[in-house]
């Protein structure tokens, strides 16, 4: 399919014969919705000067409309002297009605999109002109602490559903005048506003162009969930590993923008997206930079260990117990053999059953209402942890293995990443239960191959571990070197300004 820029595409909301801006057409387009308000006003009480005020009840702030739009129209001395509508339009355009954000247009599309986003419009029917005033006044959620990502020793604000609040949050964190927020609209029905955040003179312009191209090519009816954006921006959607970093923490979002990535925010979704996503990002937390570098390196090491445990432990357990028992220390082998005396199922079946039980508990605890949430953990602990062991349905050893695995997967900073691990854990476990350690190695090789092959916006998914020869590769990945030693931005992003510290910032 040939790519057509969105601007040149036919707009669906407006029929060809309704392109003229007048009351009749607007009424036709909106139908008779109950929340639509039309108010006819005769300016200076003269029948020669009828105008129509229009807004959507609930979206616009009514007291703002009366106070700042209607009141000047009725009381201003200059307006009283006007006797034609043309004169009125030019007066308002010149700022007689003192409103900071007003806009004169003859385009019916523009008027409609302004009205649906909460503005009010004064429509001059005969002149086919409208002036819109930004009187948004709908209910919005206050900025609260992030709920999905825990914060310690970092800023505690989070993104909210309102687009403008989010852009202001970002502006407050990145005050440089070079910060750019380009916007476009996605979603045939929802018409959601999407902002592309980057820094002029720092971000790689090719990356930006590609992000814009992909966002532009999205032709979908709604953008109500984050998946709508993520899926269209991912290079390989058949790979469960996330390729778009999504975060509800503005500090994390801004740190990535400053590193040279491109951010995307969507009206109505309290999440910021960062492109391109690489594996290392999902393993890191902003807190790494707020602790001493030695501790942060240690924590990263533990996180890497958790990644390996969450991925391989059940498979490894099956492989060494049923295929290669000589790999275990003798006392451990005897302990496991002892603990399995009288257990009904074979070890592989037992482990896979427990893995599925773990997924069940995980899913149930996510869906259950908060006030009965404790029930899941009680049932999970009592039934799986104790009763199943006492009834000899499962052995204590496998309970320990599964417990360690689940704790390790909770240690991942990104939920998306931990979900990808869940899928691969199951694959590796099944391969190991058929071929032992060989199956474990084969499936791990396939995983590494898949990850090596994966690209996100032309950046290797395993960057900077695979694409740099210099020591920069491990400076801020496996290690966390002191900040003064880490003076450059990631090589793989090909940013316009590489230095983070020093003279040519």
């Amino acid at each position: 399919m040939k790519y057509i820029p969105r601007k040149n595409r036919k707009q669906n909301t407006v029929e060809p014969n309704e392109t003229e801006l007048n009351i009749e057409n607007i009424k036709k387009i909106f139908g008779d919705s109950e929340d639509l308000v039309f108010k006819n006003i005769l300016v200076n009480n003269s029948t020669a000067m009828p105008v129509t005020l229009m807004y959507i009840n609930g979206l616009a702030n009514q007291s703002h409309i009366s106070e700042y739009v209607l009141k000047p129209m009725a009381q201003d001395d200059l307006i009283k002297k006007v006797n034609s509508l043309e004169g009125l339009i030019s007066l308002i355009d010149d700022g007689v009605i003192y409103f900071s954000s007003q806009y004169k247009t003859k385009d019916i599309d523009k008027v409609i999109s302004e009205i649906t986003s909460g503005s009010c419009a004064i429509i001059f029917d005969k002149q086919n002109t409208a002036i819109t005033f930004d009187t948004k006044g709908y209910e919005k959620r206050a900025i609260t602490e992030p709920t999905l990502e825990n914060v310690s020793k970092a800023s505690k604000d989070s993104f909210v559903e309102t687009f403008r609040v989010n852009t202001s949050t970002i502006r407050r964190k990145i005050r440089t005048s070079k910060l750019r927020i380009d916007d476009l609209t996605i979603g045939e029905q929802t018409c959601s506003k999407v902002g592309i955040v980057y820094i002029e003179g720092l971000t790689n312009m090719d990356l930006l162009k590609e992000v814009k191209r992909r966002l532009d090519s999205i032709d979908i009816d709604n953008v109500l969930t984050s998946g709508c954006i993520e899926e269209f921006l991912s290079d390989d959607i058949n790979c469960p590993f996330p390729q778009v970093l999504s975060t509800e923490r503005p500090d994390k979002f801004c740190a990535e923008i400053i590193e040279g990535r491109v951010g995307v925010i969507v009206d109505g979704i309290p999440i910021g997206f960062v492109l391109p996503g690489t594996m290392i990002q999902f393993m890191q937390a902003p807190e790494d930079y707020s602790y001493n570098y030695i501790i942060a390196t240690l924590v990263r090491g533990i996180r890497n260990l958790a990644f390996i445990l969450a991925l391989l432990l059940p498979g490894f357990y099956i492989a060494i117990t049923t295929f290669q028992p000589e790999m275990m220390p003798t006392s451990l082998a005897l302990f496991i053999a002892k603990s399995r005396q009288g257990v009904t199922f074979p070890l592989q079946v037992e482990t896979i059953i427990m893995l599925i039980a773990l997924e069940l508990i995980f899913e149930a605890s996510l869906r259950i209402p908060k006030n009965v949430g404790q029930a899941v953990s009680i049932v999970g602990t009592l039934i799986v942890g104790q009763a199943a062991v006492e009834a000899q349905l499962v052995s204590p050893a496998v309970v320990i293995v599964i417990a360690v695995t689940s704790i390790a997967s909770y240690a991942m900073p990104s939920q998306d990443f931990s979900n990808a691990i869940r899928i691969w854990r199951l694959i590796i476990t099944i391969c190991s239960s058929i071929l032992g350690l060989i199956g474990l190695s084969l499936s791990s090789i396939v995983l590494v191959y898949k990850l090596c092959k994966l690209n996100s916006f032309g950046v290797p998914y395993l960057a900077p571990l695979v694409d740099t020869i210099k020591e920069n590769g491990i400076k801020d990945t496996i290690l966390r070197v002191p900040l003064k030693n880490n003076k450059t931005r990631p090589e793989s992003l090909r940013v316009s300004n590489v230095t983070r510290q020093g003279d040519d910032l």
Partner: protein, 402 residues
């Protein structure tokens, strides 16, 4: 088209694999861990009735259920299975008839071989243990002296200890006096393949301890070596004689050298060996090799039984001289033993081979004869250091102290 081809290809591969699956036993190589007989110690003996047979005994830890309430640590108990066969492998397969579980050799810790078998040919029974895919090369090898290997395995009741743990403990503390040395399967294999080198293996004995109440208790004793001429055991060496071998082979870990505090006195001083090095120096005198064994020993004054003042320059010098004599005596005694029995356990042939491989080709055939008549010199460099405060011994009068 490509999609259809790939679907067909995938389906046919699936069918092919599906037809290969043996549904009675779908996964190959699987062994449930609870149905595995984890052999910890193996004993190899001669057959009881038919002396040509091989008798093999295996030991594992018995699974005992303990009451969850009791705080008492459960004592380990052993399960022992024994079988005979014409060969080792035959016997091992016969073992399988005695238990419902799969006998697994991947976790063996010790291998005990009885003296009678060692005296015939040790290589013949070891061959299976080396070739089997389950056994590992870090198995410790022991020769049972005075009792059968099965006797060692079954002595758990007598020594009131779990046999593999007891053997492991003894092997761990072998360096206390350095009267013996650990030899594992890998070293044994290398030694067996090296025809010019006669090997030695540690000896394990079951000794009886006197008991007041008339009950006889036993204990293991790990002391000395079984000395082999080629593959056949010819005798045993113990105590100082065995340590002499360790001095020459640089296998001393620690130990006590007891010397006199003064040439005229009878008070004993214990010197604790803290460091020892040795090397075999070969010089060619025409076609005749000259061998010098250099031993370096450093020790510490650990105990003094007399009240003699030894913390002086002359005193220390005297101790060093005494130590030198003692070590030299131990080393020379084993050289004498080796030359008398015509066994090159010292590895001198090996040293010559490595330094003069061409000359070695000439003297190889006549080596044993040459070895017995050879003049082997021993040089000992002895040092006594006072790594901690020595001062005077207990019982020295206050006034005599400095």
């Amino acid at each position: 088209m490509r999609k259809i081809v790939s679907i067909l290809l995938g389906f046919s591969i699936f069918l092919l694999l599906f037809s290969m699956v043996d549904f009675k036993n779908p996964i190959v190589g699987v062994e449930e861990i609870e149905n595995t007989f984890f052999v910890l110690t193996v004993g190899i003996d001669k057959g009881i009735e038919n002396k040509d047979n091989v008798r093999i005994s295996v030991l594992e830890e018995k699974f005992t259920k303990t009451d969850s309430g009791s705080s008492q640590k459960p004592t380990k108990e052993a399960t022992i299975r024994t079988a005979e066969g014409k060969t080792t492998f035959d016997a091992v397969r016969n073992l399988g008839l005695t238990t419902s579980r799969k006998i697994f050799f991947g976790q063996i810790k010790q291998l005990v071989i009885c003296e009678d078998l060692a005296k015939e040919n040790i290589a013949s029974v070891i061959d299976f243990m080396v070739k089997d895919h389950e056994t590992r090369f870090d198995i410790e090898i022991l020769v049972a002296s005075g009792t059968s290997a099965e006797g060692i395995l079954k002595s758990g009741e007598k020594i009131k200890e779990f046999v593999p743990d007891a053997l492991n403990g003894l092997l761990g503390s072998i360096g206390k006096q350095s009267f013996s040395k650990k030899v594992n399967m890998l070293e044994l294999m290398i030694n067996l393949d090296d025809r010019d080198f006669d090997m030695y293996l540690p000896i394990i004995k079951l000794i009886e301890l006197d008991d007041k109440e008339g009950k006889v208790e036993s204990s293991f004793e790990l002391n000395g070596f079984a000395v082999f001429n080629d593959n056949k055991m010819i005798g045993t060496i113990t105590d100082k004689l065995a340590r002499g071998l360790n001095w020459i082979k640089d296998d001393i870990i620690s130990g006590i050298v007891v010397v006199k505090d003064n040439t005229n006195s009878n008070g004993n001083v214990s010197l604790e060996i803290i460091d020892s090095n040795s090397n075999i120096e070969i010089k060619m005198n025409g076609n005749l090799p000259e061998v010098i064994i250099n031993i370096e020993v450093t020790s510490n004054i650990a105990e003094q039984m007399s009240q003699q003042k030894i913390n002086t320059e002359e005193g220390i010098e005297n101790l060093e001289k005494e130590q030198l004599e003692e070590v030299k005596k131990e080393a020379e005694s084993i050289i004498k033993y080796a030359q008398y029995n015509k066994v090159d356990i010292l590895g001198i042939g090996n040293s010559i081979y490595h330094k003069y491989p061409f000359i070695w080709e000439d003297i190889k055939g006549n080596w044993k004869e040459m070895f017995c008549k050879m003049n082997i010199k021993v040089n000992v460099e002895s040092r006594v250091i006072k790594s901690y405060h020595v001062g005077e011994s207990m019982g020295t009068e206050e006034g005599e102290k400095e």
